[in-house]
Structures are given as C-alpha cells and as structure tokens.
Amino acid sequence: MAGVAYPVNQVDITPFLIVASLLLVLGISVLAYFFIGKSEEFKELKASFDKMMRSFNELDEQAKLIVKTDLELNKIQEELDRRLIGLNTLQKLARTMSMTLDEQELFQKINQDLATELGFSRALVLAYDENNAMNTRVNIGIDPSKLEHIQSELTVDPQFLNALKNGMTFSSLNSSQKTKARIVQLFETEHFILSPLLTQRGVSGALFVGNRYTSPAVTEGDEEIVAILASQLAQSLENSQLFEQVYSSSRTLETKVNERTKELSHALKDVEEISKKKSEFISAVSHELRTPLTSIKGYASILMTGKVGEIPDAVKERLGKINTHSDNLVKLINDLLDISRIESGRVEMKAEPHAIRPMLDNISDLLTPQLRDKGVTIKLNIPADLPMLEYDDTQLDRVFINLIGNAIKFTPANGIITVNAHPNLERREVVFEVADTGIGINKENLTKLFDEFFRVDNEINMKVKGTGLGLALAKNIVEAHYGHMWVTSEEGHGTTFHFTIPFEHKLKETKKTKKTIGDA
C-alpha cells in the first residue's frame, strides 16, 4: 500500500511535559482537596439524613402509641355511647311499661324498634303459662316455623336450664362452647344474650336477644343492659299478673256485692212495703180503736158522775180503773198514730226559731213533782250564748219529756239527771245530752233501744208500765229535724241519750218551714 510521507519537525517537548505534569499534580491536589471537603459535607449530610430518618422513625413509634391509645379510647367511647343509648332506651321503655298493666300490651312494647335501639336484630321472649308450659310471647326476626324446635332444644340445654334455675344472664361472651354452638345454630346468630325473667315468685320465662354474623360482638355492658331489660319485663309481668288477680277478685266481689245489693234492695223494698202496710194497718186500727174507746171512756165518765144512777164504790173503783186504762190505751194509740204518721210521712212540722233554755225550764217545772217524789236532782247545763234553733217546739218538747221522763224512771233516789247542750260550730249543730246515773243498759239491749215496742227486760220496767214507743217516737222526731240520736250506757253507772239539732233548718229558705216528719 503506497503512502505519503510528511516531514516532521523535531521539537523538544520536555518542558511541556513538566508543565503538564505539574498541572496534573496541581489538579489532582485540588480535586483531592475538593473531594475530601465534599466527603465531609456528604458525611454531614448523611448524618443529618440519618438523624431525620431516626426522627421520622421515632415519630412513627410515637404514632403507633397514639394509634393504640386512640383505638382504645374510641372503643371505650363506643361502648359508653352504646350503654347510654341502651340506658336511654330502657328508661323510655320503663316509662311506657309502667303505663300498662295489660300483659298483652306489655309484650307488644318489646318490638323491632326497641331491639334495634338496643343494637339487636333478633329477640325472643319465652314465658311460662299457668300450666307451666313455655310459650313464645315475642318473636322478632326469627323464622316462626323454627320456634318449636328452638324451644325444645333450649329446654334441654344445661346452661340454659342452669341460668333459669340460678337467675343468671349469659351471653356469647361467656357461654360454654357447646351452648354457644347450639344457640348460634338455633337462632342463626353469632352474638347473643340470654337472660331469665326473674320475679319474686321465681322464674317466669326468658329473654333472648341476638345479632347476625356481621354485627359487632356483644359486650359486658350489653349483657348488663339486657339483664336490666329482662328484670324490668319480669317485674312488669308480675305486676300485670297481680293486677289481673286483684282485678279478677274485685270483679267477682263487685258481682257478688251487686247481687247482694240487689237482694237487699228487694228485701228493703219488701220491708218498706210491709212497714208501710203496718203503718197503714196501725193507723186504721188505731182510728177504729179510738172511736169505740172514746165511747167507752165517755160512758165510763158518765157512769162515774152518777147521772145515770148511784153507783156503788166498788163499781166506781172499777170505773176509775176503766178510765185510767182507757187513758193509757188512748196514749198508746196516739203514740202509735204519731209513729205511723211519721213513718208514712203524714206529719207536718213547723220549724221556727226558738231558744232552748225556756223550753227546758218549763219541762223541768213540769217534771218537778216526779223528780221530788223520786229524790232525783236535775241539772240543766245550757250555755247562755247557745244560738236560737229552728225546730217544732211541740215535737222537741215531747223528745225532752220522753228522755227526761225515762231518766227519772231509771234513776234511783239521790241520783242526778244532767241535761247538757253544747254547740258544734264545725258541724253547725247543737249536741244535746240527757244523762242519768241510773242502772244503765247492757250492750245487747242498746242496739234495740229505738225499736218500736222494745222494752228493756229489767225490774223497773216490770213495775212501771210503758208502751215501748217513746224512744222510737223521739228518734223519729229528731231525725225529722235533720238531727241524729244515739245512746251510750254503762251498766251500773248510767245512760246518756245524745241527739243533735242543726243550727239552721235545711228548709229555711221557705221561711216558714213545713218539714214532713219522716223525711229524714
């Protein structure tokens, strides 16, 4: 291969090499210096970076602690919220439960809304009936066709039976594996609580609540709330059952009372009818008796005068007796007639204002001979400021004469008869008392004392004649004045008759009151 040769100038390059070498050394030195310096910076940078990474990692470690604490706090908060919601729900439920005593209505309160508010999707209430058989009373979210199977399976589960026996609530938190598996399978729930319904009389049933698999697990707080709910339900059930019993008894009693009242009402009507007929009979008979008696008494009086011829003393004596007995008979008939009129409402009473004291003074005067004969003292304790009363003076006069006359009769010598009067401002009436220091009346007789024709069986009554109509008449007169009469007595110490007369007559508006005796 042909070539072209070019001439080359021979140049000494040594100085260049020296300079270049020096420059190279200098450059290397500079670079070495630079890199050494940078290396320090890199080191510092790396140290800073490592420090920052350590800080980040420390920050991260702190963050882990924060997450852990925050998670716990959130769980506590959630549990607290659930409890508050549960308690709030229970409080509302307690309020509504307390408003009903109907068992059916009570079970209706355990509904889907309540279960949801408590955080459960299923609920079952089983309750014993009167034949001790367990029945489903509430079913929320459980297939009804499975209930029979659920009941039969539950009632052989030892933990369930034990819970019923000991009144213990248990849940998926603390139940045995076997029971948990059985309940989970039976109710198709993962989380559940079962609580017995405890009453004072024992276990009345059981409450089940549960949640499906996706729901949060139950907590001890849930268990407590469900136990409270079961207790509330049991208490309300017991109350409703007790109420039902009381109500049922009361209904029976009411029916009986009604029947008895009806019977008594009929009887009273009969009695009133009889009484009316009796009064009419007495009235008729009395009238019929009084006419011939008046004739007898009249003829006896004529014979006594001797106008139809002289009569022997013995006959005169007999005629005197006829006269006396006729008078007694007339008095008896008059009393009978008065009572009859009072009872049949045919006596009119004129209530007008009167002071009591003058009337009692007159009566005292009138009875003075008898008092003196018996050696009995009468004391009239009538306050000076006793208000005027509205009464029929003739009738009230008879009452006082009757009571004081009786007192004289039964008070032994040196005895005292006291007539008291004191106002009862609250009841707006005056209370009168006629008290004696006589032989008294036993309790048995006291109750019959105002019966017509009743006379206490004692020595005095055997000696002294009487009709047994006086007290009945007096009582009727007092009652016709809208007052009351009663008697208290202690055998051997004396008897007190009490009666009241109102301040104002109830028919005062009519000014001149015409009160029919017997209206009271």
């Binding site: 920050l59 963050a63 882990k64 924060i66 997450v67 959130n74 919220d81 919601i85 809304d113 996706t214």
Partner: protein, 395 residues
C-alpha cells in the same frame, strides 16, 4: 315567584306508613297539590317500593330522587331509623333528573358520562346551577364515575355527590328514583336557575407518623408503599398481620384511620378510605390514588370534626355574603360519625347557628362525598372525597 320547602320525617315501623306520615308532614308545610322535586333520605329498612308509591300519591312530585343512608340529618337532630323527605316547589328553579342502573355492566367513567348526558337531555333550559348525584356504595370506582360526570357537565359546574350505603358494613345500597327503588345504580339531579349555589367541603384529619411514598398504584388500588406491600403500613401501626386486620380491624381502619394523600397544596390532603385489603397485600380505596404521591396515616378527634362543620358553615356564609340560603343539603361522612358518636348532633347544630335557625337543613351520612376539595375557588378539582363534610347551599 317563590320557592317553598317542606321537610317531613317518620320512623314508624311500617315503611308504607312511615312514607305516608313523612309525606303528609312535608305536604302540610308546602300546602300545595303538586311538588316540583322530592329528595328522600331513608334508612335501609325503608327501601320499600309501596312506600314510594304512597309518597308519590300524596306529594305528586314531578321529580324524585333519593338514597338510603345509615342516618338522616336535620337541623336539630339526627335520626338513625326512618324516612326523611324534602319537598320543593319553586318557580325560580328548574330540575332535571336521571338514573342509570346495572352499573356493573358499564365502565365507571362511561357510566358517569352517560348519567350526565341523560341529565342534560332532560334539562329544558340552558341555565345550570349545580349537579347532585348519588352513587352506589358497592361500586369501587367512584373517582372515575365522578370524572365521567365532570367530563360531560364541565369543570365549571359545581358538582356535589354522595355514596349511599346501608351502614358502616356497606352490605347493600339502594337509590330512589321517581316511583322505583334501584340497586347497583346512580341517580342524578341537575338544578338550573338557582341564583346562588355555594359548596363547602371540610375534613379535620391530620397526618400521623412519618410520610411514605406510594410507589405503585393502579386506579383505586395502592399496590406498594415505600417498596413494600401497601398493607404493611397498617400492619406496622396496628401490630397485626393482614389477615387479622382484614378480619377484625378493617372497620376501625376504614373509619378511624384513613390514608391522607398529599396534594400539590401544602398541608392539604385528599382522604382515602380503605374499603378492602385483598390477599396480595394491596389496599383498595374508594377513590383513585396516584403513584408517587406522599401518603400518611390520618387521625382526627371530636373537637376537630365539630370545628370542621362550623368552618364549612362559615365558608358558606362567606360565599353567600351573609345572605340566607333557601336550604342546605348536608353530606356527612360515616367516618366522622363514628368518631363523633353521640355528640355528632352538636356539630350539626353549628350549621343553623352560623346560617340561621330558619334555614331548612336536610342531609345524610355517606360512605364518600363528592365536592371540590376546598371551596368554589378550586371548583375545577371536584372529586371523590372521604371523611369529609360537604354543605351544599342553594339560595
């Protein structure tokens, strides 16, 4: 020209009776024969067709949509069982509604697009104020559905939505549409003519622990975090294996400790509720998650939850310049309900305290909320949220 709102509620055990009672209560407040729109929020036991028919007979609504929910929100209370009904008569507003069922047969984005198309087809006026939709809680691709809706309706239209579920277990979901009850479906409402629409969305979650990086994700599935199976994040914090997490603590994870995905705005996080932990160690979220995003475990407390409702209400008030809205719809996260517990109602009270006690408040608990993350200022970023409270005020 006027707008009238009537709200009714019943918790009667019989669903038909409950619908009847709630409808009558709402109708009593309206005092009208027909209604333009009825929105129903009911607990799952009340997903009853006969009930809807009864309600239709009483309120005679031209449009009806609704969703089941674990809890119904009112201004003064929260009900966990029953039927809530809001009936509207308005001369000012126009409503169009649409539904889409058999979601399992359609890709989510396409489904969202299709629903939005139906809404527009039904809308007889060019005025569009806002869109509201309810999506099926058993579907696991809410972000794509939302994107489909947004694609058709445009980023400028305020969109609010909710994922309706029966409970925190998310075992069933139903929606109400006209006289039907739909499963595996979405229903939507387009409102036109409303003079003012304001939306506020707030969450109260704070990051906990060190930040990590999602280094592999696909749609709503986080495959790995920090080059480890995603579930390790939870295993570390809960000291539990993934099987135990899945079996025992998924609900706690889901509701109490969601993931916070970092956004381009500092200290703003998109909350993602894990809905499942599959066997491969990934984490299935309810919304999409981007690869490369920083991720945190998130935590919150009652006070922060309550404060966030107050803040959302204040936000609405600011947007409305103090003017009272005609009504407020509330979409409150189930996660926040779990944290608030019994005190949840205290937060709800804040809405009327801020916006006025006469403003009707009606809402539901959701498994996911759709709203702009933030306020209307970030309207283009309407997306599926978790763990948030969303207020939609219309005036």
């Amino acid at each position: 020209m006027a707008t009238h709102i009537g709200i009714g509620f019943s918790s009667t055990s019989d669903p038909v009776e409950a619908f009847k009672a709630a409808a009558i209560e709402a109708k009593t407040q309206l005092n009208a024969v027909h209604t333009d729109l009825v929105i129903i929020f009911a607990t799952s036991a009340y997903a009853n067709t006969q009930g809807i028919v009864t309600l239709q007979r009483i309120l005679q609504p031209k449009r009806l949509i609704g969703s089941i929910t674990p809890g119904i929100i009112f201004g003064d209370r929260v009900e966990t069982r029953g039927v809530g009904v809001m009936a509207i008569i308005s001369d000012d507003w126009h409503f169009s509604t649409a539904s889409l069922d058999q979601l399992n047969l359609i890709p989510a984005r396409e489904a969202g697009y299709s629903l939005a198309q139906s809404l527009l087809a039904d809308h007889k006026t060019p005025q569009r104020s806002t869109c509201l939709y309810f999506y099926d809680g058993l579907r696991k691709n809410g972000t794509q559905f939302c994107a489909g809706i947004r694609e058709e309706l445009g980023n400028a239209l305020p969109i609010v939505g909710a994922i309706g579920v029966d409970s925190t277990k998310i075992t069933a979901t139903h929606h109400f549409y006209q006289d039907r009850i739909l499963a595996d479906a979405a229903v939507g409402l387009l409102i036109g003519g409303a003079s003012v629409v304001s939306i506020a969305a707030r969450h109260s979650w704070q990051p906990l622990g060190k930040p990590r990086i999602i280094d592999n994700s696909s749609g709503n599935v986080i495959l790995s975090i920090d080059k480890q199976p995603a579930v390790r994040l939870y295993e570390n914090y809960f000291h539990a294996a993934d099987a135990i997490l899945r079996a025992e603590q998924l609900e706690d994870i889901r509701l109490l400790y969601p993931l916070g995905i970092g956004t381009s705005t500092p200290r703003e996080y998109l909350i993602r509720m894990p809905i499942d932990i599959p066997d491969d160690g990934s984490i299935l979220c309810q919304g999409d998650v981007s690869t490369g995003s920083p991720v945190h475990l998130m935590i919150t407390d009652k006070d922060a939850c309550r404060q966030s409702i107050h803040d959302a209400a204040m936000d609405i008030r600011t947007q409305l310049f103090g003017k009272q809205p005609k009504f407020i719809l509330v979409f409150e996260s189930l996660m926040r309900r779990k944290i608030l517990g019994r005190s949840g109602i205290q937060g709800i009270h804040a809405i009327q305290e801020v916006l006025g006690h006469s403003v009707p408040v009606f809402g539901m608990y959701t498994a996911g909320e759709v709203a702009p993350l933030g306020t209307l200022k970030t309207v283009s970023r309407t997306q599926l949220l978790n763990g948030s409270v969303v207020l939609l005020a219309i005036g």
